[in-house]
Amino acid sequence: MTNSAISERDLRARQRYDRKEISVAYLFLLPLLVGIIIFFIVPIVETFYYSFTSWKGVGVAKWTGIANYIKMFSKDKKFGLEISNTFAFVFGSVPLTLMIAIVIASMMNARIKAVGFFRVIYFLPNVTMVAVVVMIWRWLLNSEYGIVDLALNSLFGIRPAWMSDTNLTMLSMCLISVWSGVGYCIVILLSGLQSISPTYYEAATIDGANGIQQFFKITLPLVTPTLFFLLVTRVIGAFNQFDMVYLMADNASSGAVGPVVNSLRTLVFGVYQSAFADMQMGYACAKAVFLFFVILVVTVVQMIGEKRWVNY
């Protein structure tokens, strides 16, 4: 009886203490929370609201129910393009980036000379602004005076129009994205690789496993947590890629419309076009809401899939 009374009092004291501690903790979190609420939560809620209106971005928003969503799925031909382009970009850039990154990262993890030099070289594209990267690639790939064109033309006699042939534009964008994204993935993967204990490799070598076997049986399984992190963040990043699309599609002589733009038009770019070029902010919000749910679903699927292939 006495014992339980004491423990109850103890418990209550602890709870009181905890509650006090919690409120102090919230106080410390407040500056960040206020920022997040004002700059993220409120705009997100507003986006949901405006997606049900015919708001033009200026003036009064008129409630139109689900008209924007009906238009999106039944009338707007470009919306289908936006979805397929978005997935083409995600599947065309992220897996290739990760594959190349893991190969290069494991090579750099080996004891080779001047490894620091290579790390810097591979990381350099990542510290360069996307705008600069795209502008330089646009020059390199220009089919009239680009250096890539010059090389391909003199070596193989072909002149692919990387930037204006609508069959090639998406491929060009994926390649540029891979080129500029690999460096970041290498650095993250290297840190993952360095946490793998060398004893595994020693044991495997004694057992007669060669380098390729070691890579697939030891390196790859043990680096999966890092790979998973990269996969989730890169996929979200690719879904939200805007600057690259904008700069690739931007064409002073034809404005932001036409077949070339349509071949690159991703969901995020579609949101931008609807909002600021077509003056249909409400419709743009509806697209943004759709994109939000696409990314949500894809990420949840990845989280579920995590248990199947990620070893902690």
Partner: protein
């Protein structure tokens, strides 16, 4: 220590009071515009005005293009961050005025009698004036004299026809030189269609009217130029812009607006020739446009703004922009001719007399985008015949108008 803090606080209070008092004295008018090339002219106007009105400060903020300005306006309109004065064009006017965010200037007696009536009328809706006309523009054909000489082709005359234009482009094309750059601008195509008796919109501006033989005929002529290699295709145009091709001497002719004259004159010097647009069955037409100065309905400094707008309508203000655009004040438009004595800028002045509006009365942005998009597909080679293009354009535009 406490005394120190008290002293500091008191000092801060006094200082902030004085800064409030100062803020009350001078009214700051925020002036938003686009096009960097025009900043010096606008700055000169602002300087002249503020020298005479020391109680007014003018803060100029320039965006790269009209969509940049549009984004900023969308983000700030209705808030205290909205500009007091901003550039408005036909497209923005068509979108903004019905929303009631552009101030009606009718009651303020701003004298615009000296300004081009076409531009003033474009910003007048239901007898209410929403902007002060700033400038005007028109189209003409720019050509490179040295490429004409090299090909042994005579310089074009103002009375040439669309057939002559196509023939000239053909004769100028040789290895490494293309006759016509083609154009990414919808207005260039409208000029050809109007000249041949075709229409872009129905008379009341609520439906597309492009699906006619009159519109298809000149389009077919331009399509032939492209397919025979005398003009750039869409993909070529997007790899090398029309301006790059023309200024670097690999294209003999380009059709563009009066605002390009300073850039082309700088690049080509004495080799630059300008000739009026070729005429068709119905004569000559140049799709006409002009920027206006507008203010917002929620402007808190309306009196100061209106006074500045009155100044902007005067000859003294208008004449400051003659090196970059044709001022809306037609008296100083003749001064504009004197800025480029060696080229035939008269072609642009003449074109003002056959100017035409080119926007729909409803959903102007969407409908125009639909035209631009179909034209881009045309340049891309997506249509076998001009009739196909006209039918597709009509469909796309009518869909946009029905939104």
């Amino acid at each position: 220590m406490k005394k120190m803090i008290g002293l500091v606080l008191a000092l801060v209070m006094v200082l902030s009071c004085t800064s409030f008092a100062m803020a009350d004295d001078a009214v700051t008018l925020r002036f938003w515009m686009w096009d960097d090339a025009q900043v010096p002219a606008i700055q000169a106007m602002a300087d002249e005005y503020t020298a005479a009105h020391p109680n007014v400060k003018i803060e100029i903020s320039c965006q790269a293009d009209v969509s940049g300005l549009n984004q900023k306006i969308q983000a700030t309109i209705g808030t205290t961050d909205a500009p007091e004065i901003f550039f408005i064009n036909y497209n923005l006017a068509a979108e903004y005025i019905p929303l009631g965010i552009v101030a009606d200037l009718s009651s303020y007696e701003i004298d615009q009698s000296e300004l081009a009536s076409g531009i003033v009328n474009a910003y007048t809706v239901d007898d209410k004036v929403y902007a002060v006309a700033k400038d005007t523009d028109s189209y003409a054909v720019f050509y490179n004299k040295s490429l004409f000489d090299a090909a042994g082709v005579a310089y074009p005359e103002n009375d040439w026809t669309i057939e002559d234009f196509c023939e000239t482009a053909k004769n100028l094309t040789s290895d490494g030189v293309v006759g016509w750059t083609n154009s990414g601008s919808d207005r260039v195509y409208y000029n050809f269609i109007y000249s041949n008796g075709g229409e872009i919109y129905s008379a009341d501006g609520t439906a597309s009217a492009i699906n006619t033989p009159e519109a298809a005929e000149p389009i077919q002529a331009l399509m032939n130029l492209v397919s025979e290699g005398y003009a750039y295709t869409g993909p070529q145009l997007s790899e090398v812009s029309d301006t790059t091709a023309f200024t670097s001497g690999i294209a003999a002719m380009t059709i563009n607006g009066s605002w390009m004259i300073s850039q082309y004159a700088t690049a080509l010097g004495d080799n630059l020739g300008i000739v009026e647009l070729p005429s068709g069955k119905a004569g000559k037409f140049s799709s006409n446009h002009g920027i206006g100065y507008a203010t917002t309905a929620a402007n808190e400094h309306m009196d100061e703004t209106v006074d500045f707008l009155r100044y902007l309508a005067t000859y003294e203000a208008q004449v400051k922009q003659i090196e970059v655009v044709i001022p809306a004040n037609l008296t100083c438009a003749s001064d504009w001719e004197n800025v480029y004595p060696n080229v035939n800028v008269g072609a642009f002045m003449n074109a003002l007399s056959y100017g035409r509006g080119y926007l729909s009365t409803v959903n102007a942005t969407l409908a125009r985008t639909a035209y631009q998009e179909t034209l881009a597909s045309l340049r891309n080679g997506d249509f076998a015949t001009a009739e196909e293009f006209c039918a597709a354009a009509e469909q796309a535009v009518n869909d946009a108008l029905a939104e």
